[in-house]
């Protein structure tokens, strides 16, 4: 446990350094977003990742896009212009009246914390823990922190 805390503190420090570092470089090229640590409390991540504010319209687009969330591959969602919705996972229609925001965020960030055997990808897990990743995705989370918050904001509109 102690090790883990130290690890988290270390990573937060790294994140901080990355943020400061990128501010300096900001004018040259857009800096890659840092990996923000997150914390699970009672099956929820209550604080928005990186303190970012989500945009629900953007979140809706991400949920559809194959190369982003591709959530509709597995979930029925109220997105009528899409012909095909999968049913590997439960329907997300009305999800915000069933689940609190923090619980929804945890599901998206890392459903394995709730069900270790799930098929659902962890969209914001520490990329160092993956195995045998295709080259172009190495060291990257599936969605950025901003995209996670966008999707959370969109799901919160599904009452």
């Amino acid at each position: 446990m102690n090790m883990r805390r130290r690890f988290i503190r270390l990573s937060m420090l790294t994140a901080l350094l990355l943020v400061c570092g990128s501010a300096v470089l900001a004018e040259e090229k857009p800096a890659p977003e840092p990996y923000y640590e997150w914390k699970v409390e009672g099956f929820a991540i209550n604080a928005p990742i990186g303190g970012l504010v989500g945009n629900p319209e953007n979140g809706r687009k991400i949920a559809v896009a194959r190369k982003k969330g591709n959530c509709i591959a597995c979930h029925v969602m109220p997105i009528l212009e899409e012909e095909f919705n999968g049913n590997v996972g439960p329907p997300l229609t009305g999800v915000a009246s069933r689940l609190k925001e923090g619980r929804i965020r945890l599901s998206i960030v890392d459903e394995k914390q709730i069900n270790p055997m799930t098929v659902m990808p962890g969209y914001y897990r520490d990329p160092r823990h993956f195995n045998q990743v295709r080259k172009s995705f190495k060291g990257k989370t599936v969605l950025t922190a901003q995209e996670i918050e966008d999707v959370v904001a969109y799901l919160m509109t599904l009452k």
Binding site: F43, N70, G86, V88, M117, P121, N131, R134
Partner: protein, 264 residues
């Protein structure tokens, strides 16, 4: 573990069956092996069943042509196996991958074809496991066993390779961090966007895929699935894929060979 809090009873109830499955280390969630055929639409099934409609039959014909093409040593595959393949050992074909005493490891049906190509016909070796000629020959050869049950034997020397294949099948990989088992043993019959998931069997291979309009070898399909969950795909013919083929043939033991099947 702190993650599971006892007051979260509903969640526990939902998770319990899954945990039990995990604890028992069950290989797959389904009881009876079902061919991918059963998960296809009636139109695609009809296409597979009609030799004149099935585009894979063109590859069978290409394979037949290669089978009777004379090599520099004046021989053809047909010299030993019959021009129409009628002297091939059909029972043996259903058993691949088999253990090679010479190579001291499992070899696939495709490996055997490469071996005969190199050693019996003394042709210049094909550079790739997936050479289109090898795929065509395999399609022709396995078509000869159409309707016969897959009959791999994992009780002998193949056991450790089977175990390695099983471990691979269940190991998460890629940025999406999935294993074969997640889609093919827990969700056959469910929809993944527009596609119906099957149990992921090998009995139809080499298979004509409507998605890329060609006949695909089994290892190509492995690569396509790994690519989907953003894992680093391995080389066709690699040891890991041979072990995986062994494992998949074993869980689909008894399914009828459908080569060339038609799949999405």
């Amino acid at each position: 573990m702190k993650m599971i809090e006892p007051n979260n009873k509903r969640l526990m109830a939902a998770l319990l069956p899954l945990m039990l499955l995990g604890a028992l280390n069950l290989t797959h969630a389904w009881q009876d092996a079902k061919s991918g055929y059963e998960f296809m639409t009636p139109e695609s099934r009809a296409m597979q069943d009609d030799d004149f409609e099935n585009p894979g039959m063109l590859t069978v014909d290409e394979g037949q042509t290669l089978f009777i093409t004379t090599a520099k040593n004046e021989m053809t595959c047909g010299s030993c196996h019959g021009d129409d393949g009628s002297k091939l050992d059909i029972e043996r074909i259903t058993q691949y991958p088999v253990y090679s005493e010479t190579l001291k490891k499992p070899i696939t049906l495709r490996n055997q074809i490469h071996i005969c190509w190199n050693e019996r016909l003394q042709n210049p070796p094909m550079k790739k496991y997936n050479d289109p000629r090898a795929i065509a020959l395999e399609t022709f050869v396995r078509h000869q066993a159409h309707g016969k049950p897959v009959n791999v034997d994992i009780d002998g020397p193949l056991k450790p390779y089977y175990e390695a294949g099983k471990a691979f099948y269940n190991r998460r990989a890629g940025q999406l961090d999935m294993a074969c088992t997640h889609c093919h043993s827990y969700f056959p019959g469910s929809k993944l966007r527009a596609q119906t998931l099957s149990q992921g069997h090998s009995n139809g291979f080499p298979t004509y895929r409507l998605a890329n309009s060609k006949v695909n070898g089994l290892h190509e399909r492995f690569r396509q699935c790994q690519h989907q969950f953003r894992a680093k795909a391995l080389k066709a013919g690699s040891d890991d894929y041979v072990n995986l083929e062994l494992y998949i043939n074993a869980i689909g033991k008894g399914l009828e060979i459908e080569t060339p099947a038609v799949r999405y």
